[in-house]
Symmetry: C2
Subunit: 211 residues, 2 copies
């Protein structure tokens, strides 16, 4: 529970890169002893959100731009794999569910409801992972998806990105429905890879604005 709260704090940017997570201070903050804090910190380290330097403490570690791009590329490849497998394994009902999610996405765009859009978008991707028909792969995909969540949301703010994303979703469903595995893989891979590129773009423009 404490680990989740700390994770939230890292994601929401309350901690910045290189900050030391002081056990005693956190213990006071959460009104517990150091022991549960240490367990929470170990979880953060295990999930890659922090690094532990022996006898020095644990430091939060925000991924740099290059690492983020690597993570987006990996996510794109994994989604591609899920798409290729799903093309062979997905059921008719599941395809209908994907259509439903997409319809709700379109509604959300019309209503200018970014949160709603994001929620249904997430459902869409989770369904693809699920219907790859490989529970282990699904878990790995979910893990990485979750890790990239705060960064993925940012690029959705770009003008016209939501509509573009929707079109890509529909191409994915079309390929899956046709059972065209390689096309499904390629479309999904591109759909995620472009998120990484858009994110990169966003960061570059932000950096330029800061100067």
């Amino acid at each position: 529970m404490i680990a989740d709260t700390l994770e939230e704090l890292v994601f929401t940017g309350d901690f910045s890169d290189g900050d030391r997570l002081d056990e005693i201070r956190l213990a006071r903050q959460f009104n517990v002893s150091r022991t549960p804090i240490r367990e929470a910190l170990q979880r953060l380290v295990a999930s890659g959100l922090a690094v532990q330097i022996p006898r020095r403490g644990v430091f939060i570690r925000q991924p740099g731009l290059v690492e983020l791009m690597e993570m987006f590329e990996t996510m794109a490849e994994i989604e591609g794999v899920c798409g290729r497998l799903a093309a062979h394994r997905i059921s008719e009902e599941a395809l209908a569910d994907l259509d439903t999610a997409n319809a709700r996405c379109t509604e959300a765009i019309a209503a200018d409801d970014a949160d709603g859009y994001y929620r249904e978008n997430e459902r869409f991707h989770h369904m693809i992972y699920r219907h790859a028909g490989n529970g282990f792969l699904e878990q790995e995909a979910l893990r990485l998806h979750r890790r990239l969540k705060p960064f993925r949301r940012m690029q959705l703010r770009l003008r016209g990105r939501m509509a573009q994303s929707m079109a890509e979703h529909e191409a994915v469903v079309a390929a899956l429905r046709a059972g065209e595995a390689e096309r499904a893989a390629e479309v999904l891979r591109g759909h995620v890879a472009i998120q990484g590129e858009k994110f990169h773009l966003l960061m570059a423009s932000l950096r330029r604005a800061a100067e």
Copy 2:
């Protein structure tokens, strides 16, 4: 350090599925207090080798056959991805290194040196991960590779498997050298997928022998 030892014990089969890892007993065994044992157990849980049930303890959790097959399939897909990326990104020197590793593998087969074969085989795969040119993907590949290690070794015992595996390795290098990304991906995927199938075969025959 204790976590590594425990991991070893799990891999070498000193613990079987569902065993409870008694903190007090382990503490006595390692001559330390419960605190470091608890930290080690948390690591095992984080790496998926054990599950923790609150107020009940942590239990070791060997993956069942279906999960293992899922893991092999995932590994095959990830290696395929590494191969596809590496086909575009690998250097001439690295290709030469792959050849060297393969040559050593052949020698090891001639000398009937299973350990040596396995060591060079591992180097081969690690190099492919490395030259996919994506540090994050590399780490993920290494993680899964490591997790599957004890099971991968088993299938190498099958008669003729080492020679077959070697031929596949050479096909991989040929595709990489030609820069044929899709072929490299397919060959590598097949190379790992067949390991899963062989492993399945082995388990089935072992089960039949037990009856």
